[in-house]
Amino acid sequence: MNENATRIASTSDETPASTVDAGRRGFIGTAAGLSAAALVAPGVFLHSVSADPRTEPVTDSVRWGLLIDTAKCADGCSACVDACNRENGLDLQEPHGSESKWEHQKAVWIRKVKLQDNQTGRITNLPMMCQHCEHPPCVDVCPTGASFKRADGIVMVDRHLCIGCRYCMMACPYKARSFIHQPTTGQLTAVPRGKGCVESCNLCVHRRDNGEESTACVDACAQEGHGAIVFGDLKDPDSTISQRLREIPSRQIREDLVLNTGVRYAGV
């Protein structure tokens, strides 16, 4: 780009009338080049982080989890939702039916919820997704064993076995699961998803298995400057998440069900 600019500038030295134009041309060219590079750079950066596909089976020496600090979760912000939709190809689908039907039938892996305490009136914002329970009700009820808990704690659906009975969706206490109601097109290679199966947040398992550091929602929240979601290994006492869990009070949603969720919330 820079060479172009100087080349244009040097060839138009002979014609005094276009010297000013050449200078502007060069400036615009450089600016365009820099901004294009700046636009592309984040994507290149995200995908150039280490690409080591896993070659050994996962073990239970780690347990992945999230800590959500609701005090940092901003009202009206949906960065985590948009990032998840983009990462997993959820934003690629077009509704077949009416908009109102699509609202209730589209797949949602993470959503923002805004609560108000009935007694005190205090407002809380938080993202809600699959809680990756240690004793998942969805795994208990799946007739084929498609809904399963991986050794490293991630609860997910093996779509090769799923028959689409939706019993896991009945059973989930957090309404975390979605059913795909229409044929999918243009899926991402990393996230296969198709009509007739059930799916939910899988802690970006394709990133997990390719050696990347965290999930799309965590990255997006950090990029927005809120940093409300922390991802890490719950079994590692020195991980960021474990340290934070020791510092601030946190709890599971619906803790009376004693499911020992992998996702913990502070401030709700």
Partner: protein
């Protein structure tokens, strides 16, 4: 005791074939609807990510528990050894198998990936009541077929009693299992209750008998076979009793929920402000489905009239569908209590914003699917009674076995 004669159903061929044709047409339409729903995807139905089980499941669960209840009659004859019920045993078994097949067919047609049924048959997760149900349902069909053999074949006679007991126990397990599909779920306020298993057993008694009586009376009426007043008295008193038992379980279930503060919101919604679900509960389940039929069946004058008894059975079935709709769909529509003591102001996934219930309306493809299941059950029954000897020739008073005397009845003079 007079020997019971069983005979094929010999209504005129035109009538029979037009009945079959009608049922086959319904099944054909259901098949088209299934093809449409499977090809397009479930977006064409009213089901969504909040209400995941809809009208097909209402039909399917009704058929399955009615199937279990229909076998009751045979059990009363075989296991409890009441001779007056013995002639009804074969039809009871046929109806049980037929309705179970109809119900299972609806469930399979509604799966997201029905072509993976073979996966469901070969991969089992035995902590799931669904996986157990697959064995309970198929085992039930095998046992009932064996039961029918033991009733019909002379060589099967000695096995009749043991198979009858097995069928009874298996049936109770199956119906309890069906109720536990819901009762085992901790997620929703309306479920998570041990009573749902036994409640479904009670409901099955009522629905099964109502369907059985309708089929019996229709079949006998068409061909002019008589049902005597004694038989009718037994059947209608039994139905009224079963409705009462079902009502008792319903009462306990709701009273218990009302007592607990944490289930307050659910009960207030269902009983007072739930829109269609409130209407279906009070009018459909309680009034039309329970109180009205009981009133008819115990009424001194109306209970003697066949048309009114048929009406009562039909009302019970309407009540049954209303009950299934409230239990299955209403419980899903009510928002999940994830944040007790809080009101949800905004949500990206219809989590019950300001306490609003999730939207659901039945759509045509779902209703056609359900009707198809009913038609399959009736088709199997119609073919069965035509081809084989399932129905007794007569249930007139002088043919059926004597039953016990009641204290207030006139002295019974045995025929010579």
């Amino acid at each position: 005791m007079k020997r019971v004669v069983y005979r094929e159903w010999r209504i005129p061929p035109e009538r029979y074939w037009s009945l079959l044709g009608f049922l086959a047409a319904l099944i054909g339409i259901a098949a088209l609807s299934f093809g449409y729903m499977e090809h397009q995807g479930h977006w064409v139905s009213g089901m969504n990510n909040s209400v995941v089980w809809g009208t097909p499941h209402v039909f399917a669960v009704f058929l399955i528990i009615a199937a279990s209840g229909a076998l009751n009659i045979a059990s009363i004859g075989t296991v409890f050894k009441k001779p007056i019920y013995k002639p009804l045993g074969r039809l009871s078994g046929l109806l049980a198998v037929a309705m179970l097949m109809g119900g299972l067919l609806v469930l399979v047609m509604d799966l997201g990936r029905p072509e993976r049924l073979i996966v469901a048959m070969t991969n089992y997760n035995f902590s799931s009541i669904f996986a157990w149900n697959i064995f309970l349902y198929t085992g039930f069909m095998a046992i009932v077929i064996a039961y029918l053999w033991s009733m019909a074949d002379r060589q099967g006679g000695p096995f009749n009693y043991p198979i009858g007991i097995l069928a009874l126990v298996w049936r109770l397990a199956l119906t309890t299992g069906t109720g536990s599909i819901f009762g085992f779920l901790v997620a929703r306020q309306a479920y998570d209750a041990a009573i749902l298993g036994p409640m479904f057993v009670a409901l099955s008694f009522a629905y099964g008998l109502a369907v059985f009586m309708l089929v019996l009376m229709f079949g006998f009426e068409e061909e002019g076979r008589p049902i005597g007043p004694r038989m009718m008295r037994r059947l209608r008193n039994l139905l009224a009793l079963f409705i009462g038992i079902a009502l008792y379980f319903t009462l306990i279930y709701h009273l218990t929920n009302l007592y607990m503060a944490k289930h307050d919101s659910l009960e207030h919604w269902l009983l007072l402000s739930g829109g269609i679900y409130t209407v279906l509960f009070w009018v459909g389940w309680i009034l039309v489905g329970s109180l009205a039929p009981m009133w008819i069946l115990y009424h001194p004058a109306l209970s003697q009239k066949r048309e009114w008894i048929i009406g009562a059975c039909a009302l019970v079935i309407v009540g049954g569908f209303s009950a299934m709709y409230v239990i299955i769909i209403g419980s899903q529509a009510f928002p999940m209590a994830m944040f007790p003591g809080h009101t949800i102001l905004e949500s990206g996934f219809a989590d019950g914003v300001n306490g609003a219930a999730a939207p659901y309306w039945p759509t045509i493809p779902e209703i056609l699917l359900g009707i198809g299941g009913v038609a399959v059950a009736l088709l199997i029954t119609a073919v069965g009674v035509r081809v084989l000897q399932f129905m007794p020739e007569s249930l007139a008073d002088d043919v059926v076995a004597p039953d016990e005397e009641t204290l207030d009845a006139a002295p019974f003079a045995k025929p010579a």
